[in-house]
């Protein structure tokens, strides 16, 4: 192997077909309101943890839906579980159970 002084960049693209959708299926089977998000971002705007760090539940939720789950495990740890997101969601997404179920999925699917 030759060192050319640069590497082949990895793709930023979400490759939906190649991604791992087990977590998404797992969550949907336990929390049907998972599907209801319209990406309004009110959960993220009100988020207690998001006030102090870059924790973004809207995006985390979306990334799981797209099967981009490599960072979920480290990101989800920042949530304080305070429940403000639950109170502001216009679609009635049970955000707290989503958080809990994401943790469960990490555990049960050994991610």
């Amino acid at each position: 192997m030759i060192d050319f002084g640069y590497n082949i960049n990895t793709d930023r693209q979400i490759d939906y077909d190649a991604n791992d959708h087990r977590m998404s299926h797992f969550i949907l089977s336990r929390e049907p309101s998972y599907n209801l998000c319209i990406g309004c971002g009110s959960c993220t705007a009100t988020c207690s943890a998001g006030n102090f760090t870059d924790f973004n539940f809207r995006k985390l939720h979306l990334m799981i839906k797209r099967g981009e789950i490599s960072e979920v495990k480290t990101k989800i740890q920042k949530c304080m579980f305070c429940g403000k997101c639950l109170l502001v969601c216009p679609r009635g997404v049970n955000t707290r159970n989503l958080i809990l179920t994401i943790n469960c999925a990490i555990d049960e699917l050994k991610l």
């Binding site: 336990r30 049907p32 309101s33 009100t46 207690s48 943890a49 006030n51 102090f52 760090t53 495990k73 989800i76 740890q77 920042k78 949530c79 304080m80 579980f81 305070c82 429940g83 403000k84 109170l87 502001v88 009635g92 049970n94 707290r96 159970n97 809990l100 943790n103 469960c104 990490i106 555990d107």
Partner: protein, 621 residues
């Protein structure tokens, strides 16, 4: 004759039961934390022992709490427990009289009428010693049978007994129940047949025996009846440790341990195990549960949850489908710490993924006398924090608004979800901040925060919910309020009322400025608004169903205002209410008397040092 083969089913069953109970109880007690074992040692030789005996008499035998709830239900339970207990006690004395010995085989008193046929005494000669015993024993049997009849009726008409919804029994429990139900009718038959032939027995068995002997070959039926009676007893004893009837002996143990000062811990230990085994599965918790009455959820109530704990198959969706409102705990006749046990089990089935809040770095807050902590939810109800800061400003107290720029959660929600370690990290952060402020008083607007500050933070300063603080301010004349003609109902928040025992302060405050109307469920019996963070499972429709029923009750007599003392309750109720929903802080803030308060402020200014005045002026700027 002191033995017959038919006693064996009973005798072996009894031995089996005693061995199993012996093993279980020894194991549980040994597994208790050392401090708890010490408490037992100290407790046995103290007043607590006798207090326990008293409690056992009133609760386990007489079922006083049951009577309070429903007389029929109380009678049913009392007749079984007290009647059977008395049968054993009187039977033992009777057998001593007959045998002349102090120690008899355990089956002897049970089957005494088989072994001893005393024809000399007439059935109603109760003034003789044998007559007294015969009468008493038949009376107790009749008592039990009356309970049995009620139990039959209850199967059909559970509503008469105060049960809105029948408990879903397991097959095994049903088997044990059948065995139990057979015991006393069979005893009646066995004693009656024997009495019919030998002309013995008391007023009940003798008369019945005479009737039977008229048309039945009682001399042949008696012996099989004794066998059947023995079998029923044996079957019941063998099934008891594995059925709900385990509560009968375990509750006694629980009462002792509880009186000795043992408490439910944050983790599931053998005391929790004893509590779980003390659950009689009476089903009272089902009717009191709003998930059942409002949200059509019928399988997650404490009775079913504890059963799943006993069977070691706790499911996440059951464990987390509970409002943790504490209504069932309040009403539980055995007094089991249902919330605490559920939380410990939530902890057990939690994932291992740890939380990490290393992004939180405590800063130095300003030095003050009072720290005001609004709480996460209060930030979604800005009128509460605005009212509180206005009131605090008026009093002139030196305070800081600790979480003005966003709250770090108090940790209680994580705790309720069983994530104790995560909660601890948040608690450590907030504790550091509070301690750094040097405040002597912590005031919070959120009952959820209040409970955890009070119980788990170990702050060594005064911790108050704003309800208490406002009442204190009123009593100290630091604020004066203008009365109005308004009619008000007060909604008790779960964490403040049942959770922390604060019922009076809000009511006193309201009464002093408005007309307080009472509601059907209040104080310890108050309903949960449905917004609880304790429940993670229910969907928004179910939450709304609970909220609607609560509002229907609160608005029944058309109050002007619904006052509550929790941002979450306020937010939950406000979205469906026709009446105005206010937090008590808003209610008080609106009633502030400006002139009187100015005076107070002036006086306070007088007592302030120059430096303090300057600081205050700067803050005001």
């Amino acid at each position: 004759m002191t033995f017959d083969l038919f006693v064996l089913p009973f005798f072996l069953g009894l031995i089996f039961l005693l061995v199993v109970l012996g093993i279980k109880y020894t194991r549980w007690i040994n597994a208790l934390p050392k401090a708890d074992i010490l408490k037992i040692r100290n407790g046995i030789f103290s007043r607590k022992f006798f207090l326990s005996i008293k409690e056992i008499f009133f609760e386990s035998l007489i079922h006083r709490k049951m009577f309070k709830q429903n007389a029929l239900s109380g009678w049913m339970h009392m007749s079984f427990a007290f009647g059977w207990f008395m049968l054993i006690v009187i039977g033992n004395i009777e057998s001593r009289v007959y045998s002349g010995k102090h120690i008899n085989p355990p089956y002897y008193p049970i089957f005494l009428k088989f072994f001893v046929h005393d024809k000399k005494v007439l059935p109603f000669e109760i003034y003789t010693v044998p007559g007294f015993f015969r009468f008493s024993m038949d009376l107790m049997l009749l008592l039990i049978l009356s309970g049995l009849v009620l139990a039959f009726i209850k199967r059909q008409h559970s509503k008469w007994f105060g049960y809105q919804r029948k408990t879903k029994q397991t097959e095994f429990d049903r088997f044990a129940l059948t065995a139990l139900w057979f015991i006393f009718p069979l005893r009646l038959l066995a004693e009656s047949f024997t009495a019919g032939y030998y002309l013995g027995g008391g007023f009940l068995t003798n008369s019945l025996g005479w009737v039977f002997s008229c048309f039945l070959p009682v001399q042949y039926l008696a012996y099989p009846a004794w066998w059947a009676y023995s079998f029923a007893l044996g079957a019941f004893f063998v099934t008891l440790p594995y059925s709900r009837y385990m509560h009968i002996p375990t509750e006694v143990l629980l009462i002792f341990l509880r009186n000795f000062g043992i408490k439910t811990e944050k983790n599931f230990n053998s005391f929790s195990e004893i509590e779980v085994n003390s659950c009689p599965r009476c089903g009272i918790c089902i009717d009191t549960c709003q998930l059942n009455t409002s949200a059509c959820i019928h399988d997650t109530q404490s009775i079913y949850f504890l059963r799943s704990v006993r069977q070691n198959e706790v499911k996440q969706d059951v464990a987390f489908d509970c409002l943790l409102c504490g209504r069932c705990q309040e009403i539980c006749p055995v007094g089991i710490n249902l919330n605490a046990i559920r939380i410990t089990k939530r902890r057990d089935i939690q994932t291992l993924t740890p939380n990490s809040y290393n992004y939180l770095i405590p800063t130095q807050p300003p030095s003050v006398d009072v720290v005001y902590f609004a709480g996460c939810m209060t930030h979604l109800t800005p009128s509460i924090k605005k009212s509180m800061t206005e009131i605090l400003d008026v009093t002139g107290v030196k305070y800081s608004f600790l979480d003005a720029d966003g709250t770090v959660c108090c940790g209680r929600p994580q705790m309720m979800a069983g994530k104790i370690d995560a909660a601890q990290q948040l608690m450590d952060y907030n504790k550091t901040l509070i301690q750094k402020s040097g405040a002597k008083t912590l005031v919070t607007s959120c009952p959820i925060c209040y409970k955890v500050f009070k119980e788990d933070y170990n702050l060594n300063i005064q911790v108050l919910h704003h309800t208490q603080y406002l009442w204190q301010l009123m009593n100290e004349n630091k604020i004066s309020l203008k009365p109005s003609e308004k009619t008000v109902v007060y909604h008790d928040p779960c964490e403040l009322g049942r959770g922390s025992g604060i019922y009076e302060e809000p009511r006193q405050i309201i009464k002093s400025i408005a007309g307080l109307m009472s509601t059907e469920h209040e104080k310890a019996d108050a309903l949960c608004c449905g917004g609880s963070l304790g429940n993670v499972q229910i969907n928004s429709k179910q939450r709304n169903a609970i909220q609607k029923d609560v509002l229907d009750e609160l608005q029944k007599f058309h109050p002007d205002t619904i006052v509550t003392a929790c941002p979450l309750c306020k937010k939950t109720l406000a979205k469906g209410s026709e009446a105005k929903v206010e937090d008590i802080a808003e209610f008080v803030c609106k009633a502030l008397q400006p002139t009187a308060n100015k005076k107070i402020r002036k006086e306070q200014f007088k007592s302030l040092t120059k430096a303090e005045l300057i600081e205050l002026a700067i803050e005001k700027l």
